[in-house]
C-alpha cells in the first residue's frame, strides 16, 4: 500500500541544513498497525506528514497504492487526503465555533455530499464513538477524551484506508488515552491501516509492528511476535 524509497527531507535553517529524514525506505501493507517511536526531533512527525501528503520529500519516491505521489497535482493530492487519509492530531484541531457534529461533517461538506446523506452519516459516526448526546456541544464544552473521539469521528467519516495519528494520546490522561487507542485499534481491526506516532513504550508494544527512528533514520523495524 505504502512504499517509500530513499526519502530525504531537508530543512534549511539559515545556512544550516537539517536532515529531518535521511534515506528512509519503508513498506507498509494494507491493514497494518504500525507504531513509530524515537527520541524528540528524530523525524517521526516529518515522516507522518510526508505519508499524509501534507509535506513533500526533498528527494526519493513515495508510492501510495502504487501511484507515485509526486506525479499528482496539489488539487489531486487534496483529493487523496480527503478520500483515503484520516488524521488524528495531538491537539485535536477541532474548529472551536462549530459543534461536534459540524466538525465531523466538514469532510463530507468538502467532498460535496448532499445534506440528506450527511446527517445520518454524522449521526452514525458520533453514535459509534459514544458521542450521540454530545453532538450539539462545542469543543470547549467537551473533555479532552471526548474531543479526541470527535476528531477520530471526523478522520473516519470518509471511510479512509489509512489513519495517521501523531501522539493521539499525548494530551490525554491514561484512561481516556486508553479509550482512544482502543477505538483506533478497533478501526484497524476493521481493515484500516493505522500508523501511530508515540512516546509511550506501552502503547508501542501494542502495535504489531514497531519502527524506531533516530536522527531521521530508521534504527529498527520489527514485527511483534503474534
Amino acid at each position: 500500500m505504502i512504499r517509500l524509497s530513499h526519502i530525504d527531507r531537508v530543512f534549511f535553517v539559515g545556512e544550516e541544513q537539517v536532515h529531518a529524514l535521511a534515506d528512509v525506505s519503508l513498506e507498509i501493507s494494507a491493514g497494518e498497525y504500525v507504531a513509530v517511536m524515537g527520541p524528540s526531533g528524530s523525524g517521526k512527525s516529518t515522516l507522518l506528514n510526508i505519508l499524509g501528503l501534507l509535506d513533500r520529500p526533498t528527494k526519493g519516491l513515495y508510492q501510495l497504492e502504487n501511484d507515485p505521489i509526486s506525479a499528482l497535482s496539489n488539487e489531486q493530492q487534496a483529493q487523496v487526503r480527503l478520500n483515503k487519509i484520516g488524521f488524528v492530531f495531538q491537539f485535536f484541531h477541532l474548529i472551536p465555533r462549530l459543534t461536534a457534529a459540524e466538525n465531523v461533517e466538514l469532510p463530507l461538506i468538502l467532498a460535496g455530499i448532499d445534506p440528506g446523506q450527511r446527517k445520518p452519516r454524522v449521526r452514525q459516526a458520533l453514535e459509534s464513538l459514544g458521542l450521540s448526546d454530545r453532538a450539539r456541544h462545542r469543543p470547549d464544552q467537551l473533555s479532552g477524551g471526548q474531543r479526541q473521539r470527535v476528531a477520530i469521528a471526523r478522520a473516519t467519516i470518509m471511510r479512509p484506508s489509512l489513519i495517521l495519528a501523531d501522539e493521539p494520546t499525548g494530551n490525554l490522561d491514561r484512561t481516556s488515552g486508553n479509550e482512544v487507542i482502543q477505538i483506533l485499534e478497533d478501526l484497524n481491526r476493521s481493515g484500516i491501516s493505522l500508523i501511530v506516532v508515540t512516546h509511550d513504550p506501552a502503547l508501542g508494544e501494542r502495535a504489531k509492528r514497531n519502527i524506531v527512528m533516530t536522527d531521521g533514520q530508521i534504527l529498527s523495524d520489527r514485527q511483534q511476535a503474534p
Binding site: 501534507l54 509535506d55 496539489n74 487526503r81 484541531h93 461538506i109 460535496g112
Partner: protein, 401 residues
C-alpha cells in the same frame, strides 16, 4: 464543496468573530451611505436650481446693455460706455415674429407711503407683458393694462407683503399711495408667491414703465425681458434681437442677450459635475472600507492558521480555501452595502423632513454605483488575504511552534 456550503461556512466564521465583523460592516455601510447621501444632496441642489429657473417663466431671453463677452476682439476704447437701452429699443423688438412678449424693466428704490405708514420699496417699472412673462398671479384686482407703454399713468400693482405692511387687513384696491412725490392708485395686489432667484415679487411695487422713467428721471432701461414664441424660436429670436438693436445703435453690437436655456444648462452642468465630484470623494471612503476589509481578513487568516491547516489536512484544495475567504469578503461587503442603503434612505428621509423645500432624491445610478463599488473593492481587497490563506503550508499551520 458546494456554493451554499461555502457561504454557510463563511457566515459561521463571521459570526464567530462578531466584533470584527460589525466593525467592517459599519465601515462599509458608512462608505456606501455617504456616497448616496452626498450625491442626493448634489442632485437636490441641481433640481432646486432647475426649479427656480423654470419659475422665472418659460422661453425667456434677457437683454442687458453692454457687451459682457470676454473672448476675442480688441479691448473697448478708452472712455467708451455702452449705449443705454431705451423704451423705443424695447418696443422695436416686437417687430420680430419670433418674439411673443416684451417687458422693458426700469428698477429703482423709492419711499412709498400710505397715510402715516411709509417705507423704502423696490419699484419695478414695466408693461402688461410682464404678467405673462413672469407667470404672475393676481390676489386682487388687475395687473397693468395693455396700452401705449410710452405714456405713463398713476397706477400701481403692489406685492403681497407691501399690501400687508401698508394696509394690514384693509382693502388696498382703489387707494392712493405716494411714491416719492407722485400719487399712484392701487389697481391690483399680487398673489402670495414664493420668491424666485433673489427677486422677491411680494416686496415690490409695479408701475408703468414710463412713470418709472419719470420717477427716476432716466431714459435708460435696466434690462428687457422677452418671451420667445416657443422653445424652438429662442435662438432665432436671439439673433433677431441682436440684429434689430444693432441697426438701431448705428451698427454697434453693444448688448448682451442671455437665454434662460443657456443659464439653465450651465447650472445643470455645474451641478452635475459637482455631484460626480462629491460622489468621487465619498467613494474614497469605500476604498478605505475595502482596505479595512483587507486588514481584518489578514488578521483573520493569521488567527485562523490552524483552522486553515486543518482544512487542508482534511482534503480542502487551494481553490476551496480561496473560495471560503473570498466568500467572507463578499458577504462582508454585500451586507455592509445593504446596511449602507438603509442608512442612506433613512438619512435622506430625515433631510427631506428637515428641509421640505429642498428636493433630496437619491439618483438611481448612485445606488447602483456605490453598491457595485463596495462589492468590487470588497472582493479586490479580499483576494490578497484569501490567497495567503490558500497558499499556507499546512504543516507549519498545524504546528504549535
Amino acid at each position: 464543496m458546494k456554493l451554499e456550503n461555502t457561504l454557510h461556512f463563511s457566515i459561521q466564521a463571521l459570526f464567530g468573530y462578531p466584533a470584527r465583523t460589525l466593525l467592517v460592516l459599519l465601515a462599509m455601510a458608512m462608505g456606501v451611505a455617504s456616497v448616496m447621501v452626498l450625491t442626493s444632496l448634489g442632485e437636490g441642489a441641481r433640481l432646486y436650481i432647475n426649479r427656480e429657473f423654470t419659475s422665472l417663466g418659460t422661453n425667456i431671453l434677457i437683454v442687458l446693455p453692454g457687451r459682457s463677452e470676454t473672448t476675442g476682439g480688441p479691448p473697448p476704447l478708452l472712455g467708451q460706455t455702452p449705449r443705454d437701452l431705451t423704451l423705443e429699443d424695447a418696443l422695436s423688438l416686437k417687430k420680430s415674429p419670433f418674439v411673443a412678449k416684451v417687458a422693458p424693466i426700469v428698477i429703482g428704490s423709492a419711499p412709498v407711503s400710505w397715510r402715516q405708514k411709509d417705507r423704502e420699496v423696490t419699484i419695478l417699472g414695466t408693461t402688461a407683458d410682464m404678467f405673462d412673462i413672469r407667470q404672475l398671479t393676481m390676489g386682487q384686482g388687475a395687473f397693468l393694462p395693455p396700452g401705449d407703454p410710452s405714456s405713463g399713468s398713476g397706477i400701481a400693482v403692489i406685492g403681497y407683503k407691501i399690501k400687508k405692511e401698508l394696509f394690514g387687513n384693509q382693502s388696498a384696491l382703489g387707494e392712493w399711495i405716494r411714491i416719492q412725490d407722485w400719487r399712484f392708485r392701487v389697481i391690483g395686489v399680487l398673489a402670495k408667491k414664493g420668491q424666485s432667484l433673489g427677486m422677491d415679487m411680494s416686496d415690490l411695487v409695479i408701475i408703468p414703465v414710463a412713470s418709472a422713467q419719470s420717477l427716476f428721471n432716466t431714459e435708460a432701461l435696466f434690462r428687457i425681458m422677452i418671451q420667445a414664441k416657443n422653445r424652438n424660436a429662442i435662438s432665432t429670436a436671439k439673433d433677431a434681437i441682436l440684429r434689430i438693436i444693432q441697426d438701431r445703435h448705428d451698427g454697434e453690437d453693444d448688448i448682451t442677450v442671455i437665454t434662460q436655456d443657456a443659464i439653465l444648462s450651465t447650472f445643470d452642468r455645474i451641478f452635475t459635475a459637482l455631484t460626480f465630484t462629491i460622489a468621487g470623494i465619498a467613494a474614497v471612503s469605500l476604498g478605505v472600507a475595502g482596505i479595512l476589509i483587507m486588514n481584518v481578513m489578514l488578521i483573520s487568516v493569521s488567527q485562523r492558521k490552524s483552522e486553515i491547516g486543518l482544512l487542508k489536512a482534511l482534503g480542502a484544495g487551494y481553490s476551496q480555501i480561496l473560495q471560503v475567504f473570498l466568500a467572507e469578503a463578499a458577504i462582508l461587503s454585500m451586507t455592509g452595502a445593504l446596511l449602507g442603503l438603509v442608512l442612506a434612505f433613512l438619512g435622506t428621509y430625515i433631510i427631506a423632513r428637515l428641509f421640505p423645500y429642498f428636493p433630496v432624491h437619491i439618483p438611481p445610478w448612485s445606488v447602483a454605483a456605490s453598491v457595485l463599488t463596495a462589492q468590487v473593492t470588497g472582493l479586490i481587497f479580499g483576494v490578497l488575504p484569501a490567497r495567503r490563506a490558500a497558499a499556507m503550508d499546512p504543516v507549519s499551520a498545524l504546528s504549535r511552534r
